[in-house]
Structure formats: C-alpha cells, structure tokens
Symmetry: C2
Subunit: 332 residues, 2 copies
C-alpha cells in the first residue's frame, strides 16, 4: 500500500525482476500517481478513503491472495533503502550541517537519520510535518493525533506513524517543525519559479520549513529532500492561480457604475489603458447592493502585481467609479 | 538587447566582473525575465514592440552612451560560448547521433554545430523554428520572412536571423523543422508532467519536433537542448488549463433542463454521483435557445479525462438531460 512514490518504486522493480506487484492506494489518490504505477505494470486497487483504511484492506488482501506485504515505511529494509539518499547527499556535499526531511510514516527520515548520523554524528536532522497531520510530533509529545482531513501535502498525510520508525525518530531526530498549507503552496511555487522544478506538496515541506524558520538556519549548510513530484496538472494549476490571486496578479474587482449606456465601455477602456488585462466580465444590475440606478460589474483581471492593481483601482476611483475587492483576496 | 537568457547571462557576469550592463528588451517581455535581469543588477530598458525595434533602439543608445554592444547571437564569441553546450552533452553521452536545437537568431545552433561537427563530423544537427516565425528556414530557401505575430515560443520569435549565424547554419545544419503552437504547448506540458521541469515555449521546441517526427528519429540517440525556463506563472497556468481542456479534464458543458424547481439539484446530483467535480455553474433561462419552458445551465467541470466525460454526459442523457459541448473544446 502506498500513497505515491513507494508504489511506483515497488512497481518498477517488480517488473524489472519479473515479480507480480499488487498495489493498494486510497480512493482519492491523484490520478497521475495511479497512472504511473499502472504504467510500470502493477495491478492497482483503489480502496479506502484514508491511508489507514487502505492499510487494513491490504492486510486482508495479502492473506487471501498469499502475497508478501511490503510496508511503505514500517520495514527496516525500506528504511535502509531510503537512507541511501543521505549517502548521495554527502557524496555531493560533505559539509552538510543540517538535513530537513518530510515525515509521513517516518521511513524516509528514519533511514536518512541512521545513515547520516553514522557518517557524521553531529549532523542535525530536522523533520517536517503538515500542521494538518502532525502525527509523529504528537506521538513524540505523548499526545493522540488530531489530524484534520485535507492537505496539499497528501503524500505525508499519515495519521499513524510506524511502530519501528517512531523509535528511530525518537532517538535520532533533533526536532520536528510544522508547516501550514499557505507555506507549502508558496514553497511549491518558489520551486517552480526559481528551480524550474515540479515538486508536490509533501516534497516542498522542507523548503517551507526553511523559509518559516530562516533565522534558525542562517549561515548553515542545509540539505532539503524534495521527496516527490507527483503533482497532477489540475492541482498545479490551482496552486498557481491561488498564488497569482495572493500577490494581486489575478484579482476579482467589483465596480459600481451608473446604469446608463456607455458606462461599461468607459470602465473597461480605463482598465485597458492602465494595462489591466480583463479575463472575465460579469455585469448585472438586479442584485446590485447600491441605489436603483446603479449597476455592478465584476471583473476578473490580470495585473502585474499589487502596486499595479492599486494604480488601476485609484485610476478608476479618480474617474468616479467606486471599486470593491472581495475581502478574501489580499491587497497590500 | 535580448528577449531572455542572453540578458540574464550578460547581467550576471557583468555584476560579477564589476561592469555596468544596460539591457534593452521588447515592451511585452514576460515580467519574470525583466525581474530576473534586474535582480542581477542590470539597468533594463523596455523599448520597441518587436525584437527588431529593440535592436534599432539599442544601436542608437550604444552610440549615445558610449556602450559596447554585445549582440545576443550575431557575434562569434557569443556563438562560441553557446557552443560549449555541445561539449557538455558529448561529455555526458559520447554516442549522440543527432542534436535538435531551437533557432531564433541562430547563435545557439551555430555555436553548437561548429563544436559538435568538430568533434564528430557525422553528427546530424537539426534546427527547430516555430511555424509562426520560420525566418531562418525561409532565408535558406531564398524566401522573404512571413512571420506572424504571437507565439508561445517568444524566446525564438526573431524575424531576421543573424548575418554571421546564417552562413554557419547554411553550411553545418542538416535540416530545419517547424513546429506548431499546439505541439509546443503539448511539449511544455510533457516536460512538466514527466520530467518535472519548467521549460519555456522556445525551450520545448526540440521535444515538439522530436514528437512530430518520431519515425525519422526512431532508434537514434538524440540530444535535445531545453534552452530556457523563463515561463511566468500566468502563462504556465494558461498552458496547463488549455491542456486540461484538450484532454477533457476541464470542460464546459451546456445542459438544457425543464424550468421547474428541483431540476438543477437533480442535474448536479447526477454529475456528482458520476464523479464529476463542478467548478462553476451558470444558470439562466432568459437567453435559452430552447422552448420557453426550458432553462440552460453551463457547467465548468473537472473530469478524469475524455472517457470519464463521455460517461458523465451519457448518464445525463439517459436521465433526460440534453447536453451540448462547446464546439471548440475537443471531445474524442
């Protein structure tokens, strides 16, 4: 059972070695992960609404069909395999002082912590979890998990950390940081824009943690693991558009105008002259909140950012148009 | 003057060497390129609606301010620098048989052709241009350029190839292929989804040419140059959404329904049960094309692709709803 990379890794090697692979994934797994796993020749069964439900199903299935269960994280060999990432990082940069590693079930960080501390005992190992799914951190603090459904980091949305991984994390991981959804989305966008790399939410958590705690890591040689790129185009597009809305490049503007012919032309003309690119117009007067002789226009606009947006709206105001931005869309 | 990477390269090295850099770019250069060039400390002047207009301006400016002009492609040293890419590719894969290289002004392919044929005289060098801007190919065929404004590959939208580069291309380049806008967008999406890499339109032309001529390149060791990643988020988002619309994952569906209470609920219920994710609903009856007692609903839907979309629409039809897809959105 797997929510992503483990599935693809097992399927790939099973095909290479001529072994049958049956992979169980949660029902709402992004279609890209399912397709890629099937492409490697594995039989994929979608079962369970959470990773935990899939886990229960897979145990029954393994007995019934006489299959060997390869757990995605609670298995020493799986941890050891994932730990080789630390070896590769040291090979490229021996002076690393800190590693920041996302935690779902805990296999990746457990393996990497063992490998890294074996080579360099004073290296600092920092785990990252989504605020919505802080299961490992809660367990270390003696708390019961209070996981909220729904995170853009679905690759680490694990409610119960492994029994074997917990012990390793307790002994070798120095701290676990939590990152919010906004921070994760922002990190995905930075990786796209600056590194030109598609990284999924779970994989971008390390960068999110670094940015959210930059004073703590200042002047240190920090290694981040970008642990997956299974981001389907729909999700990617949504993250991009939310990012554009946040920095004012994509904005919904409500404008009140007198209900006389020509006003809409004057309004859109002014927006165009100011360099605003109108993507959508919705013009209505029945439900206008203003007096009876006013109409309301909703514009979806492309701008060059918050300053440009402010210039457009103040230009409209000077020309007698009252403007209103939907409150959930930021304007500096 | 530059439409992208040349600007950033010159700005980067000028700063490093403590030299003043003034870069002229066309007015509608994507803001990401402008920002990145300014970040490297260069003075950026936006002038001219085309690359050619910027070129005329830069010559006047260079005289007036006593600056040395570093041409983006028509300069033997610039070509030589770009040619080192071929050396790096051979270092990693000595068995390369074909190189596919985008052509704008021709500097990149000229330098690479000289370097590659110097090492391996029988290597095949293939150039790629956008169908909208086939200037170098037209020139080689003795034709005058008939360039159309507007291509997603604005990084190679050059109307007049260099005088020096032309001669090298004529002597050393084996063929020039043309690629359409659809093919370029598709290549950008494949690089995002499979290689997890953000490549701009101009940079994806090589893959587009490979896919459009796959029989020709079958069984050959082909090297592609992904020559730039200056894709701003707005353009990237548009390309993604157009791709989703093309393969039926994002679709606008028009449904006719009786104008009685409860019908909209029944319709959206059926869509939801079939696994369609409704993103937008626009329900109106005044302008319905059908009889007076019918209303019309426009749904913007997320689906898992064309098969899923077909299943949703046939389910609606079985339940008495007449459905219509806007003709410009493909359905297999």
């Amino acid at each position: 059972m797997s929510a992503g990379n483990h599935a693809q890794g097992v399927a790939f090697h099973a095909k290479r070695l001529g072994i049958l692979a049956v992979i169980v994934m949660p029902l709402h797994t992004p279609s890209l992960k399912v397709e890629h796993t099937r492409m490697h020749g594995a039989e994929v069964i979608l079962q369970g609404t959470t990773f935990e439900e899939s886990g229960k199903f897979v145990q029954v299935l393994a007995k019934k069909r006489n299959l060997i269960l390869i757990h995605p994280y609670d298995d020493y060999l799986v941890m050891a395999g994932q730990g080789t990432i630390a070896l590769e990082m040291f090979a490229q940069q021996p002076k690393l002082e800190t590693l920041i590693v996302p935690i779902g079930g805990g296999g990746l960080i457990a393996g990497m912590a063992i490998a890294a501390k074996g080579i360099k005992p004073d290296i600092e190992i920092i785990g990252v979890q989504a605020k919505q799914f802080p299961a490992m951190r809660d367990w270390l603090n003696g708390q019961r998990g209070k996981c909220v459904c729904g995170t853009v980091a679905e690759g680490i949305a694990v409610k119960r950390p492994g029994l074997l991984t917990r012990r390793v994390v307790k002994n070798l991981v120095d701290d676990i940081l939590l990152v919010g959804e906004d921070e994760i989305e922002n990190a995905v966008l930075m990786l796209l824009q600056i590194e030109k790399t598609v990284v999924e939410g779970a994989g971008a958590c390390g960068l999110a943690a670094l940015l959210g705690n930059f004073r703590r890591f200042r002047k240190k040689k920090v290694g981040l693991v970008l642990s997956g790129g299974n981001l389907d185009l729909m999700t990617l597009s949504t993250i991009i558009q939310r990012g554009l809305a946040k920095n004012g490049q994509l904005v919904r503007l409500r404008v009140e105008l007198s209900d006389v012919p020509g006003e809409l032309g004057r309004l859109t003309g002014l927006v165009g002259e100011a360099g605003g690119n109108i993507m959508e117009v919705f013009h209505q007067r029945i439900f206008s909140a203003g007096p009876v002789k006013t109409a309301e226009v909703n514009l979806v606009l492309q701008t060059r950012g918050l300053h440009h947006l402010a210039a457009i709206t103040s230009g409209l105001n000077e020309n007698g148009f009252r403007t209103l931005l939907p409150s959930h869309e930021h304007i500096g």
